[in-house]
């Protein structure tokens, strides 16, 4: 004869109507004799009854509104893609013009050397002030020292990981998070702690 523990595992499927007829009859027989399991089954039935009664309220126009919103997003995406395609030949042409102009200045005009030297000085100034070597903008000193100079390393890690997991644009995070879908809270917390130090 099965112990109550075994019936406890079958009761959720008994309540949802997903047991084979043999198992269903066995559970029925046991419930007649065991008040504890009967109470357990009634609690599970009460929970599933609330779920089955629940109806999601939706605006009748939601479907049409969704289609409009999606098409707008997709149109915007394709416009940007087209624009991006146009920029490639435009950029190549612009670069060719710059190279030809610079070469002709070096070769023909002595005064051009002076102009190039001035341009170099300007570039050097930019490199060591607010722009990187590849034109990226560096963070201003004032932003770094904006009252947050006493942040600990842990705070910085937490902030960075928080940003990474919160940013839906970073799709690689999805595959890591999907792999944790079966973990209970305690194990998940361990993974996140590990992630905090290893992802960076």
């Amino acid at each position: 004869m099965k112990a109550c523990k075994d019936y406890e595992d079958l009761l959720p499927l008994y309540v949802s109507g997903d047991l084979s007829s043999t198992d269903h009859n066995k559970v029925n027989e046991h419930l007649k004799e065991c008040k504890e399991c009967r109470d357990y089954q009634l609690s599970l039935s009460a929970i599933t009854a609330v779920m089955e009664r629940d109806v999601v309220e939706m605006s009748p126009s939601y479907g049409a509104e969704l289609v409009v919103a999606l098409n707008r997003r997709l149109d915007r995406r394709s416009t940007w893609q087209k624009r991006l395609l146009w920029t490639i030949p435009a950029f190549a042409t612009a670069m060719a013009v710059v190279v030809i102009t610079v070469i002709s200045l070096i070769k023909t005009e002595p005064a051009g050397n002076q102009w190039i030297a001035e341009m170099d000085r300007e570039r050097d100034y930019l490199n060591f002030t607010d722009a990187g070597y590849f034109g990226e903008i560096l963070v201003n000193d004032s932003d770094i020292s904006n009252g947050d100079t006493d942040l600990s390393t842990d705070d910085l890690y937490r902030g960075a990981v928080y940003h990474i997991v919160g940013n839906p644009q970073i799709s690689d995070v999805d595959s890591y998070l999907l792999a944790t879908a079966n973990l209970d809270d305690e194990d998940f917390e361990k993974v996140i702690e590990q992630l905090k130090y290893e992802i960076l």
């Binding site: 595992d9 929970i47 779920m51 629940d54 939601y62 997003r73 879908a181 079966n182 998940f188 996140i192």
Partner: protein, 187 residues
């Protein structure tokens, strides 16, 4: 296969899959939006969040139309994308809470309501405390009423594994509700 799913499959004939056809995509959205929105509405607490996730799901559907291999019904394929989107959303939220910068404290006793009746809003709070996969199996089977065969297809598992997962989820849900002080006597 049901008439509904045959009709859905017709919308994804090779011509339509290879060449983006706005009408067929729009029809696909209209035929599945209710199921996908209600899945998310049971998972999150606001209409806006559910709407965002529904849109994200259909954008992914659009981007991956050419990869759809017709091994399953479009309905199952779209559900699978939605479930993965939902699981990732829940994981991201939980990760942010664990990192400690979100205001919700998972381990606080804020949800303890003694001698309370079991209502759907309490149930939804309790469901949020389950693992994301257990949340999904509960929503798909008990709220959406899908058979386990379909649940297994969507969650890329066997039917038996889906049943075991559901059984654990419902038992865990009962324990969570008891810890919240819910009483079943009035049910």
């Amino acid at each position: 296969m049901s008439k509904g799913s045959e009709k859905e499959k017709d919308n994804l004939k090779p011509d339509n899959v290879r060449q983006y056809n706005a009408d067929s995509f729009n029809r696909l959205v209209l035929e599945n939006q209710e199921k996908i929105y209600s899945l998310f509405r049971r998972m999150v607490s606001s209409h806006d969040e559910a709407d965002d996730l529904t849109q994200e799901t259909f954008i992914k559907v659009y981007k991956n139309l050419s990869k759809f291999r017709r091994e399953s019904a479009p309905f199952t394929w779209i559900y699978r994308i939605a479930v993965n989107t939902g699981i990732n959303y829940l994981r991201r939220q939980k990760a942010r809470q664990y990192i400690g910068l979100d205001s919700v404290d998972l381990k606080s006793g804020d949800d303890v309501i003694y001698d309370s009746e079991l209502t759907n809003s309490l149930l939804q709070k309790a469901i949020k405390k389950l693992s994301s996969k257990q949340q999904m199996v509960i929503i798909l089977r008990s709220y959406q009423g899908l058979p386990f065969k379909e649940v297994a297809n969507i969650m890329d598992s066997t039917e038996n594994a889906a049943k075991v997962n559901f059984s654990h989820a419902l038992k865990n849900l009962k324990s969570v509700l008891e810890n919240m002080g819910v009483s079943y006597e009035s049910m």
